[in-house]
Symmetry: D2
Subunit: 213 residues, 4 copies
């Protein structure tokens, strides 16, 4: 029985909800038949504390894989991130009022870490299930990327596979029809498919998923 | 017992599905408690025939209100249209191969007809239910606007209220995450809310819903 | 020697500049070889006063054609508008603090007037000159559409051809790279091409320029 | 007298022009008063050859700084890139027909290199000159990022500062008004400002320029 640890951020930026958090509330304890079980952890949108929270949950749960989930307003689909960069450049303050500008996540750390999740296979399986999805080449420079980098750095010599997924706004967060959104049901299904894919696919598939720029 | 007639277009432009058609399949016969019942009609995406099909269904069903529904790829929310214009300018051929350019829908007809549905109240009720929605000021110049104008012209001296609603792509039609989409469940709920609103609101509410340009 | 009257709006919405006004400042008095001359009028962004200002300038200048120009933040190219609708629904207050909601521009007026300018030929000539351009099917519901409708109504029995053109933000108004823009030189050239086209083309060309929705 | 080497790509993807190439044609030999001179190199849009071409030009010109310039269709402003990643994932074939998928640019190279140009100061100076500009956190996964990474890797132990700038389409490449564009004059001015900034600013300024995601 394998374990996937899925982390979800609390609300931020004045929004009352975060679809990442709503999704992991539903997913916690879910069994993936013949594959494993989903454990979850709620993460504060705070510099450093976010990383410590997920690392502590990794220690407690000893998962086979870690999928971190965050909200990216403006995105159309569920987007596995390809790479975490060693750079904090916060456009907003985090939930404890920190606005970090042009500081490394880890002093002396490498410039970036690639996701060790099978991002192309995850996208393919979500699309097969009718869920809009694509690989993203930037997780931004706010707390999402901060957590992603910090965890990848911690796990750099570990066998545990890890990576980050951005999800769109919920429909109720976009009722003026000026930002794209995705239903919570579909977001939950997409994350669940990602968890199954991580446990069932060792080597990522070989298909184009790049961007011109 | 009042009747709302809801029309839905067939697929067009090479797409295998049209969310408008999928929605009316589910909505047909639905009872709106204390308000009325939904009847539906499937409409071919064809110049002239589309109008004749809905007018025939109006004759058969003698509805109190008519809501025409069509697909607008690229839209984020459900958008009641404010106005139908007397202009066909087809970017694509319709489903019988017609490409009409800069012809009036009705020779000698007025330049436009306003929707007689309570578009602001419909938007407000959809938003209250967590559904992205907004008033639109252009139904385009393809078969959607053609049908909308043709039916408004036919009903110009009638007591029957009528108008048009554009809906987004389904998630399965936008799996590459390059166009916004909305779940079929939410589209169906939105159209149902519009039907209830039409039957329960006589005079539209007074709130801003305009656009700069 | 023919005359084209070009109107340009003053700044609004808290912006210090309006590209429409900057353009007509340069265009005023321009001779169009073998065709005519450009006269201009500055228009306050104010309910009613805007219409009265342009009508007064028409009386003074007795033009052969009228091209009204306004700013549409978010537009990518220069967009001749196809139709003016009899509806004020201001999202913002105008420059005298009026916020008109769901009122007709002209009580008892028809629902809409089509532009009497050769909009397709204007777009074609601008594109030939390397200027991004397209026909638009909605001039919005703010003071731009208000003026457009009001002037078309005044000229409804006149031989004077008239219509409206929306232009994008200037680059200096979009320095954060979050809205598209166009250089003032190109906006001026585009408007000048439109003026030449109006004087040289009687009957619009027959090409598709429509929208699905 | 210092030297800035600016590279510009040839056209690709079936387009007849590349604004990067048009710009460096004009910039070659330009003197930046009291600062230095601009030298340029034309770069084929080809895997490996692109890197070799710029490295050869660096050897020949012994520049103090290198600014690589490429086209990013869809971008609104001039965007200095923050980071190059060790990943080729070509959505299109390059100009010699190569479509590389999920291969590192340099086998065994680090995951990424940060630009050593003062990207925040460059954005600030361009904005002051009325040019839409912003920092970008992804140069994509096509030949632009490939060249960027390859050159940063080559210069990893060098004092030569280097980085990449993406520019928008030219107006003549976007005449249907469906993609944002920028005039060649403004693109040239923006690149020139970047060159001046690189030669005059040693340490980048400290201002927020990040993205949520």
């Amino acid at each position: 029985m394998k374990t996937v640890l899925i982390s979800g951020f609390e609300p931020f930026g004045g929004m009352p909800l975060n679809p990442a958090l709503e999704a992991i509330r539903v997913l916690t304890g879910t069994e993936l038949p013949d594959l494993g079980v989903i454990k979850t952890v709620t993460v504060p949108v705070v510099h450093r504390t976010s990383i410590a929270t997920v690392i502590s949950a990794i220690d407690d749960n000893e998962p086979d894989a870690v999928i971190m989930v965050g909200l990216a307003p403006g995105r159309i689909g569920i987007m596995p991130e390809r790479i975490a960069i060693n750079m904090d450049d916060f456009r907003l303050v985090d939930n404890e009022g920190n606005q970090i500008i042009d500081q490394p996540v880890v002093d002396g750390g490498p410039a970036a870490y690639f996701s060790t999740l099978p991002v192309k296979a995850m996208v393919q399986e979500m699309r097969r299930a009718g869920i809009p999805a694509a690989v993203s080449n930037s997780a931004g420079t706010f707390v999402c990327n901060h957590l992603f980098y910090g965890v990848m750095h911690e796990l750099r010599d570990s066998h545990i596979r890890a990576g980050f997924i951005h999800v769109p706004l919920l429909p109720g967060q976009a009722i003026k029809a000026d930002e794209p959104s995705m239903s919570l049901e579909r977001i939950i299904k997409g994350i669940s498919i990602c968890a199954e894919t991580v446990l069932s696919v060792q080597k990522d598939i070989f298909v184009s998923g790049g961007e011109i720029a």
